[in-house]
């Protein structure tokens, strides 16, 4: 096929002639279906303008439903009507053209008041004075310039190709340029068009100039002011402030008078867009295929909104004609005219300001032309830019640490619905036949396509026959099965890792299963999240997905150059507990923890110890650190600062340090990062998989839980919190308030006294909570499950624990203590002007103890702000991202490192100014110098 390039798009207006020409039927009757149930002749659901009933044939083209694309019809409007979409333009054109002769109004070059010049002109002589006047205005006349008198107050000077009109206006002689100005404008328009730029600016000047001019230079008519009465009325106001409504007929007449050569000045092409066509005489009726009716279960027909609107138009149109023919009074005619205008207007756009929207009987506003196109669900954004797709599935997700990170568990039910089309060849004939022979049972097939293109459904009855029949040249739509590559996606798709390629694993159940380690890139959790799955249909797509979109390729985020995939929650806790170290593992225990992990050499035991089984023998043991070392690649050397201590890995063994979030966690994961870069994505994938299994195996065996009793603090601890932290702070706050009231407080630089007080109080109360937290932490101890999770980075923070166990702390709105409520106080529970901690949202209780009613209220106040903030932020950032994507989507980094647009214009001479790929760098830096030095000098050299 030859590819063609679109060179340009031309927009124009439909002339009444054209509308009639393209119409297949004139529509007269408002009724749709007759009593016999067949579409009415000359009705809106006409058999000549398209078929939507199966079995019927189109009377225009003879096509059946689906074959006939539909044909336009037309309504002859009884009276012309303004097209709302052009109402503004009509107004501008009316204001810019002469009310009498229709020519474009143009301001004068200059004017002179001189009786002598006039006398000379009447003698057909250009006086010296006039020549000078021309010269001073930079329009010198040549010697063979000639004057003719056209009227008593109008002369024309012709000079070579130039032409000037002189006219007496208000006793002054106005000199107009009749050629040059027009030529200049037309040239400018042409130039803009050539540059494919907007002609709007030029045209705007024309309109502006014309609207300022109040006398027509051609006919001398004095112009009247025209007022645009939105949405579709025009009023002409004369000098005596008398108003006259311009009916559409008047408007049309005026527009008709504008000569073709003047239309070009408005940047329009008179051949394809005469201005009077903006006033409708004939209304095109879209084919029924564009407004299909639906049959309800009750057998009743329900027409499309557009059809309803067209019915309204025809009814009023007919009433208008009847009344006019009957010689009804002008008032009634005008009312009907207005009504017709309303219906035609709302037919085009049902959201016109100042016009009540046309409604359905149920009260729902009708969805007319504009509404079909506009907005997110409109034709452009909803139907053309985005469509619904086949070969996709959606269901709830749930975790499964036993599957690999680049796998996705697919319910069998779904696997039987999604298919891949396989072309049968010599080489795959046998297995394909076997597939078809399984029929619709799981790894079977749903459809087969014969070489003649006929599609046959595989059924319980025919599958065996089909299996025999399948041969080279056939195509089989087989079920997806283990190992097929699919795309997996969770909305909102904010970055490229929101859609990744996974390998199918068909499993029982009804949910998609995924390894929890891939939750961070999708930002998924299992509280009911749903995800989408798309089956790739071509070999190219599958190859591309495998190479570019597979999970292992996306371990490192291009956003910050560190792994975005890694251990979360239990994985971190599990390895933290394992590598912390006291426990000695017997051989069987080691094997138990390493279950499901491909390790065949346990290496040398760390030593021997007395068997805990009670039998008095020395048995070899391994440490947790050793076990972790077994899943590390051989020869890995790495050293970094973890959350707890320095982690040192030498020759693939964990020498010292505890594994925590910094080592294997998502977003941080130094070990994963290093393995990815040094050994590649497959090794990194293997490592993450082994981490999942090792961590889960160990935490399952060791046991780990966190309950409400884990937030218990002994009595003396509570006492201490109350006395040392809370009371102390409250006392200090009271002292601050006293100092403030006694005017002893000194203002901080740049702050008012009151602000200083608030600041100091906030600081004091903040410290109180921290102190309470420290005390609580001390009493909870490092073995506390919550503390363990917080310290290892698995989940939660010390602050969370503080709030649960010790003290919730100060609540704030906009960074300040809570001040809103009554005058001078937050709640009636407090005295006016009480500045104490309690009265302004300090919550001294812990969540476990429970909050007092006033504390509860303050907490709700603070919580509300957080809620509102997130709601506002997501919608704002969503829109911001949309705009950014629209602006950037076509940019491309070329091979020479430049960033260019589609037109090959350069946006940036070097990508990111340093040509660096952030995903190859380290946490935003291009290179980690320390690491490079360490590598070069040798791993043995310490920090």
């Amino acid at each position: 096929m030859r590819t063609k390039r679109i060179k340009g798009i031309k927009f124009g207006l439909l002339s009444p002639k054209e509308i009639r020409k393209m119409s297949a039927a004139k529509i007269v009757t408002a009724d749709t279906y007759g009593e016999d149930g067949f579409p009415m002749e000359m009705g809106l659901v006409n058999q000549r303008i398209g078929v939507i009933d199966p079995g019927l044939r189109c009377k225009t083209c003879g096509g059946r439903m689906g074959e006939c694309p539909g044909h336009f019809g037309h309504i002859e409007l009884a009276a012309p009507v303004i097209h709302v979409g052009y109402a503004k333009l009509i107004y501008r054109m009316l204001s810019a053209t002469c009310r009498k002769c229709g020519r474009v109004l143009q301001g004068c070059l200059f004017s002179v008041t001189d009786a002598e010049i006039e006398r000379e002109l009447n003698k057909r002589v250009i006086s010296e004075k006039l020549r000078n006047a021309f010269k001073t205005k930079a329009y010198p006349l040549s010697s063979n310039a000639d004057v003719t008198k056209e009227k008593d107050d109008k002369w024309v000077i012709t000079d070579d190709k130039e032409k000037f009109i002189i006219r007496i206006v208000d006793g002054k002689l106005n000199i107009y340029d009749a050629v040059k100005v027009r030529k200049r404008i037309l040239e400018e328009i042409e130039e803009q068009k050539k540059k494919q730029a907007n002609v709007g600016e030029v045209v705007k000047q024309v309109f502006k100039e014309a609207a300022k001019t109040d006398v027509c230079m051609y006919c001398g008519e004095r112009q009247k002011v025209i007022k645009y009465d939105k949405p579709t009325a025009y009023v002409e106001i004369d000098e005596e402030e008398k108003k006259r409504r311009l009916m559409p007929t008047d408007v049309r007449e005026r527009l008709e008078r504008i000569p073709d050569e003047d239309i070009a000045l408005f940047g329009m092409d008179p051949k394809s867009a005469r201005p009077e066509w903006m006033v409708l005489m004939v209304l095109p009726v879209p084919p029924v295929t564009a407004r299909p009716s639906i049959t309800l279960e009750s057998g009743q027909r329900s027409e499309d909104d557009l059809t309803h609107k067209l019915v309204d138009i025809i009814r009023i149109n007919q009433r208008f004609m009847e009344n006019r023919d009957a010689g009804a009074p002008q008032l009634i005619i005008e009312d009907l005219w207005e009504l017709l205008q309303y219906h035609v207007s709302t037919y085009f756009d049902n959201e016109i300001p100042r016009l009540p929207p046309a409604r359905h009987r149920s009260g729902r506003p009708l969805k007319t032309m504009t509404q079909r196109l506009k907005g997110k669900e409109g034709r452009f954004r909803g139907s053309l830019s985005g469509k619904r797709v086949n070969f996709s599935a959606r269901t709830v997700i749930s975790p499964n640490p036993d599957i690999d990170i680049d796998e996705v568990g697919v319910p069998e039910e779904i696997a039987k619905e999604l298919t891949i089309t396989v072309n049968v060849t010599e080489r795959n004939l046998k297995p394909i036949k076997a597939t078809v022979r399984r029929g619709r049972k799981h790894p079977g097939a749903n459809y087969v396509r014969r070489p003649d293109g006929k599609k046959v459904k595989v059924t319980e009855i025919n599958y065996e026959a089909l299996a025999d029949e399948v041969d080279i040249g056939w195509a089989v739509e087989r079920h997806i099965r283990d190992g097929d590559i699919v795309l997996f996606n969770r909305q909102p798709s904010l970055h490229r890792m929101s859609i990744m390629a996974h390998y199918v694993r068909v499993m029982p159940g009804k949910t998609f299963r995924l390894n929890p380690a891939v939750c961070p890139p999708y930002n998924a959790d299992y509280d009911g999240d749903e995800m989408n799955l798309h089956v790739l249909q071509t070999e190219e797509a599958r190859a591309e997905a495998k190479i570019l979109m597979a999970v292992p390729q996306n371990i490192i985020s291009p956003r910050f150059g560190r792994p975005i995939i890694g251990g979360i929650h239990d994985y971190v806790t599990g390895l933290f507990l394992l590598t912390r170290g006291e426990k000695k593992f017997e051989r069987e225990e080691v094997l138990g923890v390493l279950r499901n992990i491909d390790i065949d050499d346990l290496g040398e035991p760390a030593g021997t110890f007395k068997s805990p089984s009670g039998i008095d023998i020395e048995v070899p043991y391994w440490t947790g650190k050793q076990i972790f070392g077994m899943i590390l690649p051989k020869g890995l050397n790495l050293q970094f600062r973890g959350k707890i201590d320095d982690v040192i890995i030498r020759e693939g063994e964990l020498v010292s340090g505890v594994i925590d979030e910094m080592a294997i966690g998502s977003f941080k994961g130094r070990i994963i990062d290093r393995i990815f870069r040094q050994y590649g994505e497959e090794e990194a994938k293997r490592f993450i998989k082994d981490v999942s299994r090792l961590a889960i195996n160990y935490i399952l065996q060791a046991g780990f839980s966190f309950g409400i009793s884990d937030e218990d603090i002994p009595r003396e601890g509570k006492e201490q919190i109350r006395e040392e932290a809370v009371h102390e702070a409250e006392k200090k706050v009271d002292e601050l308030i006293r100092a403030y009231e006694a005017e002893e407080l000194e203002a901080l630089p740049g702050r008012a006294l009151e602000e200083t007080l608030e600041l100091l109080i906030m600081q004091e109360l903040g410290r109180a909570r921290d102190d309470a937290g420290d005390i609580a932490e001390k009493y909870l101890g490092i073995e506390n499950a919550g503390v363990l999770m917080a310290k290892s980075g698995a989940r939660g923070s010390i602050l969370n624990l503080t709030q649960m166990a010790a003290c919730v702390g100060q609540q704030s709105v906009r960074g300040e203590r809570i001040k809103r409520g009554y005058q001078g106080r937050t709640l009636p529970h407090f005295k006016p002007d009480d500045r104490s901690a309690n009265a302004h949202g300090f919550v001294r209780s812990s969540f476990k103890d429970g909050l007092s009613p006033t504390e509860y209220f303050f907490h709700a106040v603070g919580g509300r702000e957080a809620l509102v903030d997130t709601a506002v932020r997501t919608s704002q950032s969503g829109y911001f991202q949309r705009r950014l994507i629209n602006a950037l989507q076509d940019l491309e980094v070329k091979n020479d490192g430049t960033v260019r647009e589609t037109r090959d214009t350069i946006v940036q001479l070097k990508y990111g100014e340093d040509s660096a790929d952030p995903s190859k760098g380290d946490y935003g830096k291009v290179i980690d110098i320390d690491e490079v030095i360490r590598e070069a000098v040798g791993a043995e050299v310490g920090t």
Partner: protein
């Protein structure tokens, strides 16, 4: 420049703009195999352009500080 006015070119946030000679222009266009029009643009009404008196059609070299690269050269075509 009017007396008493301070040149914006001396402000620390204004990068160095210089009009480049024909030879350099040729080299630049050759290096990227582009036409003048494919370069980023800058309006002749831009304060800096007015200050250094560049004409429409000139190409200015802009030396800026860059967070990623330290120093970065950019070129812009002066347009109306």
């Amino acid at each position: 420049m009017k007396k008493g006015k301070i040149s914006i070119l001396k402000h620390e946030l204004v990068s160095k703009h210089e009009i480049i000679g024909e030879g350099e222009v040729k080299g630049l266009l050759n290096k990227y195999k582009i036409k003048k029009e494919q370069l980023p643009k800058i309006k002749s009404s831009d304060p800096v352009i007015k200050e250094i008196k560049a004409e429409v059609g000139d190409i200015v070299k802009i030396t800026r500080r860059s967070r990623t690269a330290g120093k970065f050269l950019s070129y812009r075509l002066v347009i109306e």
